[in-house]
């Protein structure tokens, strides 16, 4: 009796060497597989993994022979493999324990190839379905993100290009430079300031425009709703890079439609305004104004479509009751329409802000982040993400610093998203 009680723990303890616990539970095939995988991992560690982890720590010792970046990537990969192996190590110990508990309770325990195939087809089915997604995510997202994370703490830049020279760990030097080194600090603050203004102005404009258009276009008396609906959808349907490049031509100081056609037309229509051509591409202020307007143009249809869907689901009786009570149109909007929209679309609105925070395409393609420059290779309309791009593609690349800024951006975006997801209970799933 006593021995029987200890048996789950014994199985778990035996599984410190993977597979032994399963052998004790009488699952020979399963135990064999686990033991085999364990031996494979040990062999991998001896011939490759150990060196890879050491390489991650030293980043190479022999300039011209060791490629520090490759060592870092291989080391990171090994780190991931090791973590995954440790995870499964824990899983197999748990498996040994639970199987022993089942034996104790007198339940049947399957083994053999057929048993394994059967359990893969039933309990294992969801794992097999999610496996491709996980494999892709680990190697295509987690690995590069980890490498970026590590890179932020190295001196990888144009002075240290592997394999000619080695890269080394420099702690938080990059972050320190960003905040305290006068030249970078000025650039960083300037770019960061405009990034915040840009994010706030452009996103607020596109949301306001989208909500307003949806409310206006959803009134029951309007004829030709389908046609207007398709027109309002067009800025979303045409690939953004095409329209941004077109706008870049349209706002061209000397040959663009705004200066050559629109402003003369407005002058003709309203002569007392005395408008004249504006330096859209050569004056930072006007570039910024143009960027915000264009993002309003590009981004409002998505909000418009979303809000139109919500409006159509609002109970019309609410409006009738409000009308009988003598509510004005604005009161109706504030007390019925807006709360209904926010209840559904608030998370989407926030993701629009985080999207524009990293909206590389419009900034880079409209005026190449220019005009002018604020030091560190950044132009006057560059936001953080386009500055990173320039830092790593210039003739004097600053990979370490760029990675440090990347981490900062990611922290901000993840922080904001976490708050939103928590608020909207997206984590409370079953």
């Amino acid at each position: 009796m006593k021995e029987n009680k200890q048996s789950p723990r014994t199985s778990a303890l035996l599984s410190i060497i993977p597979g032994l616990g399963q052998f004790k539970n009488g699952q020979k095939v399963k135990g064999g597989i686990f033991l085999g995988l364990f031996i494979l991992f040990v062999i991998e560690m001896v011939f490759f993994g150990g060196n890879a982890l050491v390489g991650l720590v030293t980043l190479g010792t022999n300039p011209g022979v060791d490629n520090s970046m490759f060592l870092m990537v291989q080391g990171t990969l090994q780190l991931l493999v090791t973590i995954i192996a440790l995870f499964f190590y824990g899983v197999q110990i748990r498996d040994a324990y639970q199987t022993a508990v089942r034996i104790q309770k007198g339940k049947e325990v399957e083994d053999g190839w057929k048993g394994i195939r059967d359990s893969l087809a039933t309990n294992g089915f969801p794992y097999m379905l999610t496996f491709p997604a996980y494999a892709l995510m680990i190697f295509v997202i987690i690995l590069p993100v980890l490498v970026t994370l590590f890179m932020a703490f190295t001196n990888y830049n144009f002075n240290h290009v592997p394999p000619q020279s080695l890269i080394s760990w420099i702690g938080i030097q990059n972050f320190h430079d960003m905040f305290f080194l006068s030249s970078y600090r000025a650039t960083f603050l300037s770019v960061f300031g405009w990034t915040l203004i840009w994010t706030f102005a452009a996103t607020t404009l596109q949301i306001t425009l989208g909500v307003f258009t949806a409310v206006v276009a959803n009134q029951s008396f309007i004829k030709g709703k389908r046609l207007f609906g398709i027109i309002f959808l067009l800025p979303w349907a045409v690939p953004a890079f095409v329209t941004i490049m077109s706008f870049s031509n349209i706002f061209n100081d000397s040959a663009g439609a705004i200066n050559v056609q629109v402003i003369p037309f407005l002058n003709h229509l309203l002569p007392f305004l005395h408008l004249h051509g504006l330096p859209w591409m050569t004056n930072p202020l006007w570039t910024k104004v143009a960027l915000i307007m264009i993002q309003g143009w590009l981004g409002f249809p998505y909000i418009y479509v979303l809000v139109t869907g919500i409006l159509q689901s609002i109970d019309q009786n609410l409006y009738e009751a409000a009308t009988i009570d003598g509510a004005t149109a604005i009161q109706k909007f504030n007390h019925i329409t807006l709360p209904a929209i926010l209840a559904v679309a608030a998370p989407t609105f926030v993701t629009q802000y985080t999207f524009n925070f990293n909206n590389f395409t419009i900034i880079y393609l409209f005026n190449n982040g220019g005009p002018g420059d604020v030091g560190g290779g950044a132009g006057r309309s560059d936001i953080l993400i386009s500055w990173i791009y320039k830092l790593t593609t210039s003739n004097t690349p600053q990979y370490g610093l760029a990675s440090a800024i990347t981490l900062l951006i990611s922290a901000i975006v993840i922080g904001v998203s976490l708050v939103v997801f928590k608020k909207t209970h997206a984590f409370n799933m079953d």
Partner: protein
């Protein structure tokens, strides 16, 4: 009493209604013009003389198809278009397959670690993948993936998986569980239930997923310009940008012709499939 008030206010209500209608239509027409104007300029410029002096809306002739001919004879546009198509189709197939399977598993099964792995998806989804560009570059050097399509395809797929797997789970959730139950009673296996019962019901959503995955590489400039450095490997976005990036020699007409050939098919696909993703948009939103 009430009758009297009604009579005196009728004319003011009528006037108010007229203004409401007038300004509504005025707003919608002005907005339509603002939307159509830049699109029309690009469209019309494509059929104009190659050495276009100004990028404006100008209906006066002569009209020609020379820009399109030039596009395929003197530039690599055809190659770029094919490159983009190859990358887009590969991305679409792999991503939709992975995302559909994962979404189905999360919707239909209870398994150990489900909640945490879903949260993992959500958190990973928040990481701006393009922020890891430098790492993609170094990894690309290591595995000889720069200038090759399989590598950039993997990058696109990886970036698309977390969010879309989460969305697919939401779509699968809208299919009633009764269907699976009755099929199970009839002795259908796991795979049969998935392929024969549930999958056909979410086909429209899979189509939308496929459209998004397909359009991703068409719309991306950043990753493509970073990982595909050789001119013959460029995608359309990178190639088109090269037509107008040289301030001394901006080829507006050539750009416009190339832009139409990309924008038109995508735009039509989008409008054709819009009713599906519009309903999905609000369904997903309502779930939070």
């Amino acid at each position: 009493m009430a009758e009297k008030i009604k009579k005196t206010t009728t004319s003011s209500i009528k006037r108010k209604r007229f203004f409401q209608h007038f300004f509504t239509y005025l707003y919608m027409i002005i907005l339509s013009i603002i939307i159509l104007y830049p699109l029309a300029i690009t469209f019309i410029s494509a059929f104009k003389n190659a050495n276009l002096q100004a990028f404006t809306l100008n209906f006066s002739g002569p009209w020609s198809l020379d820009n399109f001919k030039q596009l395929f004879s003197t530039t690599l546009y055809g190659t770029w278009y094919m490159n983009t198509l190859i990358i887009s189709v590969m991305t679409m197939i792999v991503q939709v397959a992975a995302v559909t399977l994962a979404g189905y598993a999360y919707s239909r099964y209870n398994f150990a670690g489900k909640k945490w792995s879903l949260i993992f998806f959500l958190v990973v989804q928040m990481i701006p993948t393009m922020a890891a560009l430098t790492a993609f570059f170094v990894l690309g050097l290591l595995v000889h993936g720069l200038n090759s399509f399989w590598y950039i395809t993997l990058v696109y797929i990886g970036g698309g998986i977390p969010m879309n797997a989460y969305l697919m789970k939401g779509y699968f959730d809208t299919v009633p569980y009764d269907f699976d139950e009755s099929a199970k009673l009839d002795g259908a296996g796991n795979f049969t239930i998935f392929w024969k019962i549930v999958f056909p019901l979410v086909k429209p959503m899979v189509a939308v997923q496929a459209l998004w995955a397909f359009m991703g590489p068409f719309g991306d400039y950043m990753t493509a310009s970073y990982l595909l450095r050789a001119q013959s490997k460029w995608t359309v976005a990178v190639g088109l940008q090269s037509f107008i990036s040289d301030a001394q020699n901006q080829q507006f007409a050539l750009f416009a012709a190339g832009a139409i050939l990309v924008a038109l098919p995508i735009c039509l696909l989008f409008l054709y499939l819009q009713r599906y993703f519009v309903s999905g948009l609000t369904a997903g939103g309502a779930k939070g």
